[in-house]
Every structure is written in structure tokens, then in C-alpha cells.
């Protein structure tokens, strides 16, 4: 059985995310900026994953394949960060607790290595999830 770890997931802006959304969400640069998970060095070690390995992130709300990179604004052991965007939104808690606001920060997720699974492009990822027929 594949080794997995459980961490607390948050999402948010990064400057690379900002540049990528303004330069075109259909481009691979959007995936490079947001199809990632920033993990603490200690968590990467606990998972037994090298930096820049594709991993599968799973929560009670869904799962997504992203590239695991070492935290750029760490240390934050036990906390993982996916920049805001469709990749994060496949796994964040959609519960609004009657405030209108989904719980984008603080979703428990498990992470496992998924070397052979691809990280999809942003629009492709959402279309696939929604079953949109693309001509």
C-alpha cells in the first residue's frame, strides 16, 4: 500500500498565481503556478517523496493530482498550501456553514505519491470534472 500522510490544507494567492491568471488560464504557465502543493520539508520526508514529484491529494470532497514542491514560505509543518485555483477547489471544503463562504482554508487532506499520474491543465481539469464535451 502506498505511503500517505495527512496534513491541513490551505489555499491562497501567490504572485505567480496572479501573473498566470492575467497571462491566460488556458496556458501551461497556469498549471505551473497553481497545479502544485507546497509542502514543508519535514512532510515531504514523512511522505517519502522527492521534491517536484506528482502527488494525489484527497479530501472528503474530492481528489486532485498536483506537483509537490518544497514550501516557498515555510516552515509550516503539518500545513500544506495549494495556490487558489481549480486544483485547490477540487479538494477544499465546500461547506459554507450558512455564511455563503466555503471553507477554503483548513481542510484535512491525505497525500500520496502518484508519479505516473498527470497534472491536468486548468480549463481541461474543470471541463473533465463537469463532464463538458469539448469539440
Amino acid at each position: 500500500m502506498a505511503k500517505s500522510i495527512t496534513v491541513n490544507l490551505i489555499s491562497g494567492r501567490t504572485i505567480q498565481q496572479g501573473v498566470a491568471i492575467e497571462s491566460g488560464k488556458e496556458k501551461p504557465s497556469y498549471r505551473t503556478a497553481c497545479g502544485i502543493i507546497e509542502m514543508d520539508k519535514a512532510d515531504l520526508k514523512a511522505l517519502g517523496a522527492w521534491k517536484n514529484t506528482n502527488v494525489k491529494v484527497t479530501s472528503a470532497y474530492g481528489s486532485v493530482v498536483v506537483k509537490a514542491i518544497e514550501a516557498t514560505q515555510g516552515p509550516h509543518p503539518g500545513v500544506a498550501f495549494i495556490p487558489m485555483g481549480p486544483w485547490a477547489n477540487l479538494v477544499v471544503s465546500d461547506n459554507t456553514y450558512s455564511t455563503g463562504m466555503p471553507t477554503f482554508k483548513g481542510t484535512p487532506v491525505t497525500i500520496e505519491v502518484a508519479v505516473n499520474e498527470p497534472v491536468l491543465l486548468g480549463i481541461e481539469l474543470v471541463q473533465k470534472q463537469c463532464g463538458v464535451i469539448v469539440g
Binding site: N8, I10, G12, R13, T14, I15, Q17, G18, V19, I21, E22, S23, G24, K25, E26, Y61, G62, A71, Q73, G74, P75, H76, V79, F81, M84, G85, P86, N89, L90, V92, S93, D94, T96, Y97, S98, T99, G100, M101, P102, T103, F104, K105, G106, G122, I123, L125, V126, Q127, Q129, C130, G131, V132, I133, V134, G135
Partner: protein, 438 residues
């Protein structure tokens, strides 16, 4: 000869920087260079010049391909969509100007729609808290000239509002803050050691989701009352040290962001942050301000509030304005499957809503009005590209401190392209005919 526009407004974030310089070609059709803007703002201006830009509306066909249609056909489709729907959701508005928002509100009223802006997934909980207990706030000019204690709570302006610190909050030399950064103490509260936190005099690395407890502990520390050894992962001595830093200033400002609005306690976090601001005013002068994201999300709240009485999540289905976040808010409406037509403008719920809500958008007839290709346009039935607001058309916008600023047009849009407002006027006029409204 090229032409240089000075003092151009940047239409990216709520900071609305007003010192951008843009160089355009002699005929005013090509934008060549951008100066003074941050890397994101620069990209926004330059992307308007992309050669692969979509310049005409496109309707999705049964086989999934796009068919190019005219703006008149797109307006016809949109008006019919809204006229037939029982509960259309008109969402977005934050990346367009107040003039277009106002026309949108007219359309919403005729079609008895639910209308919401991006505050729904941003500072919506802030608005709830402000309605609970009020907001002692100020302008960014006051921050620049007076603030000697600056707190960034759950926000990371180094990434999200890149010039905020250099224009207003940390580095500028103001009237009473002549030594710039040396005049100010910076306190950052964030569960990560962010690039903003790295600059802080005091960084409180709060346990994620425990902001309410820490805000409460700071209020207790101000009064010198008993605290447990550690609150939210922060030792009590450090909390007391931070409280002393806060109350020793002459003018303090608390900026807060998604770290508190999107964490579990949501509006209650903001309630407590505002209460802390109130308590600090017992010792010195303090203000608090949300770090608004989209450049005109504040304006959208203002226009909603002016025309409907509420700043977001407005439900007009009964013919009058109701406001009940959790019931009339976009994500909840979509997840309950109540929406039967989706109208998106100036935002990207496809990328920024939880996927369960996006799936509900993909199920219904939909229109996406946006200059970019986005996950929302990717799941919508009709994509209407428009001119870039703030680049190819002007219009009124509100900065994060509620100061209205007129954006400027610096370059012509590609030939034949409409602005948001022009397209919405076409939709409104056709909708009036369909509904028999004079």
C-alpha cells in the same frame, strides 16, 4: 512617435495604483510598454495585446465546438436565457466598472435574478461582521501619513497586493511618518512564514484556524488579565509583547485578508478583529481595513448597496431585494441546485468556486462575459469576450478604502469589440422587449 499616458489606474487589485505609465503606439491601437506597475498589473495591461485573443462571442455547439456569432446574437441569447429562467444567478461584477454594474442591476431587477459579487468567496464574511458591529476605518492616505503600527492579519500583500506596502502601508514617508519604514512597527499574523511575515518586527505564527482565539487573547493581554501559557500555538509572553507593541503606537491599522474570512470561524473572526480595534482605541487611535482583492469588488458592493440596500448576495426573485447569506449566496444556491441559468461577468467562479458548485454551473444554460479564456468560459454555453476595463475602456472603480477613482482608457480595443456596459445595454433593451417592460 509613441504616446505616453501618465497617472494611469491599474485594474488588478484593490490597491488601485494610480501612478502607472503606459506607452502606446501613435495610432492608439497598440499598447507597447508599462512602467511602475507590479508584475501582475503589467501582465494585465500587456495581455490585452495577446495575438491569440478571442474577439467575437462564441456559442457552444452540440458537439462541443464553438461557433462564432455576432454581439447582437449573443445579446439575444442572453436576454432569452434571463427571460425564461425562474431563478437566474448573475454573478461576478468585480472586474468591471460601476457603470456596467448599474446596468447589470437593472437587468437583474427585470429578470428577478439573484445577484452576487466575488465578495461571496472573498470578504463576504467581512460584510456580515461589519453589519454586526460596524467598522472603524480610514483611508489609505491616512495610513501612509499617520500609521506607525501596521498589522497584516491573515493576508500576504507581498504576493496579493504587491505595491500596497510601498505605496501606503510600510515604506512611504508620510507627513507624520517621515522616516518611512523606520517610523513603523509591522506585526504579521499568519500560519505560514510568508514573504510579508519575513519583514515583520513581530510574526505570530498562529495555528491555522485559531485566529479567533488569538484575537481574543490579544484583547485580554491589552487589559493585563490572566492568559494560559499558550493560545493558538503562541506563548503568552509573545502575545503580551505583541499587545504592548500595538498599544504603544500613535496610529495603528489592522489589515486583514482571506486567512480570517475563509477559515472556520469566518465572520466571527472579523467580529473579534473589529472588537480588538475598538479596544485599542481605549489606548490610542486604531483603524481596521479589509484587503479587498479584485480592483472593483468594493465598487460592486457600493452599487449593490446603493441600488438594492445590500452589498452582495441579493435575491430579487420575489420582486424585491432580500439578503440572507447562506440562503441567497451563490455557492449555496448552486449547491442546492436552485439556479436554472448562470450569468457570469468579470470574474471566474469556474476557477474559484468549490468544484461541486462549478458542476452546477455546467448543468444549466449559461453565459460568461469575460475578455479571457477561463474555466468558467470553458463550462459555459456562451462566451462573450469584451474590452478590458481599465485598459480599453474607462469607468468608475472603488479602491479598498472606499475611495472612488475613475479608471482610464489608454488603448483602443480590437475593432468591433464591445465593452461590458455596451453589451449589457443591448441585453437590457432586448430583455425589456421580451418582458414587455416600458
Amino acid at each position: 512617435m509613441t504616446k505616453t499616458f501618465t497617472d494611469v489606474i491599474c485594474p488588478f487589485c484593490g490597491t488601485l495604483c494610480d501612478d502607472i505609465e503606459v506607452v502606446v503606439s501613435d495610432d492608439g491601437k497598440k499598447l507597447l510598454e508599462v512602467a511602475n506597475a507590479c508584475v501582475i498589473g503589467t501582465e494585465k495591461f500587456l495581455h490585452s495585446q495577446a495575438s491569440d485573443r478571442v474577439t467575437r462571442p462564441r456559442l457552444r455547439q452540440a458537439d462541443g465546438s464553438w461557433k462564432e456569432i455576432s454581439y447582437d446574437e449573443a445579446a439575444e441569447y442572453t436576454a432569452n436565457l434571463l427571460a425564461k429562467a425562474k431563478k437566474p444567478l448573475m454573478y461576478g461584477w468585480s472586474s468591471t466598472n460601476c457603470e456596467a454594474q448599474s446596468v447589470g442591476n437593472e437587468i437583474a431587477e427585470i429578470s428577478k435574478a439573484c445577484c452576487d459579487n466575488t465578495a461571496a468567496v472573498c470578504h463576504g464574511t467581512t460584510l456580515i461582521a461589519v453589519q454586526d458591529i460596524g467598522l472603524p476605518t480610514c483611508t489609505l492616505g491616512e495610513v501612509k501619513n499617520r500609521a506607525d503600527r501596521v498589522i497584516f492579519w491573515g493576508c500576504n500583500p507581498a504576493h496579493a497586493h504587491p505595491r500596497h506596502m510601498s505605496r501606503y502601508s510600510i515604506f512611504p514617508r508620510g507627513f507624520f511618518t517621515g522616516k518611512g519604514q523606520m517610523s513603523r512597527k509591522l506585526v504579521v499574523v499568519d500560519p505560514r512564514c510568508t514573504d510579508t511575515a519575513k519583514m515583520a518586527d513581530v510574526h505570530l505564527q498562529v495555528e491555522q484556524g485559531r485566529d479567533y482565539e488569538l484575537l481574543n487573547a490579544l484583547r485580554i493581554a491589552l487589559k493585563g488579565e490572566w492568559l494560559p501559557d499558550s493560545v493558538a500555538g503562541i506563548p503568552s509572553e509573545k502575545i503580551r509583547e505583541a499587545a504592548d507593541v500595538l498599544k504603544s503606537g500613535r496610529f495603528g491599522i489592522i489589515f486583514f485578508g482571506m486567512g480570517v474570512t475563509q477559515s472556520l470561524s469566518k465572520n466571527h473572526n472579523i467580529d473579534e478583529a473589529i472588537a480588538l480595534t475598538k479596544d485599542l482605541n481605549e489606548y490610542t487611535k486604531y483603524s481596521i481595513m479589509p484587503m479587498r482583492g479584485h480592483y472593483n469588488v468594493t465598487g460592486s458592493g457600493e452599487v449593490f448597496a446603493w441600488q438594492f440596500g445590500f452589498p452582495y448576495s441579493v435575491d430579487l426573485t420575489r420582486g424585491f431585494a432580500r439578503y440572507n447569506p447562506g440562503d441567497s449566496s451563490s455557492v449555496d444556491l448552486l449547491m442546492r441546485g436552485e439556479v436554472d441559468a448562470m450569468f457570469t461577468i468579470g470574474s471566474d467562479p469556474g476557477a474559484h468556486f468549490p468544484i461541486s458548485a462549478v458542476k452546477a454551473i455546467a448543468k444549466v444554460d449559461s453565459v460568461c462575459i469575460d475578455p479571457h479564456l477561463t474555466p468558467t468560459s470553458g463550462v459555459s454555453k456562451l462566451h462573450v469576450p469584451v474590452a478590458f476595463n481599465g485598459v480599453e475602456t474607462g469607468g468608475n472603480c472603488y479602491r479598498m478604502d472606499n475611495v472612488p477613482i475613475d479608471c482610464r482608457k489608454v488603448v483602443e480595443p480590437p475593432e468591433g469589440m464591445l465593452t461590458d456596459e455596451q453589451f449589457l445595454l443591448k441585453v437590457r433593451d432586448r430583455l425589456k422587449q421580451l418582458k414587455g417592460v416600458a
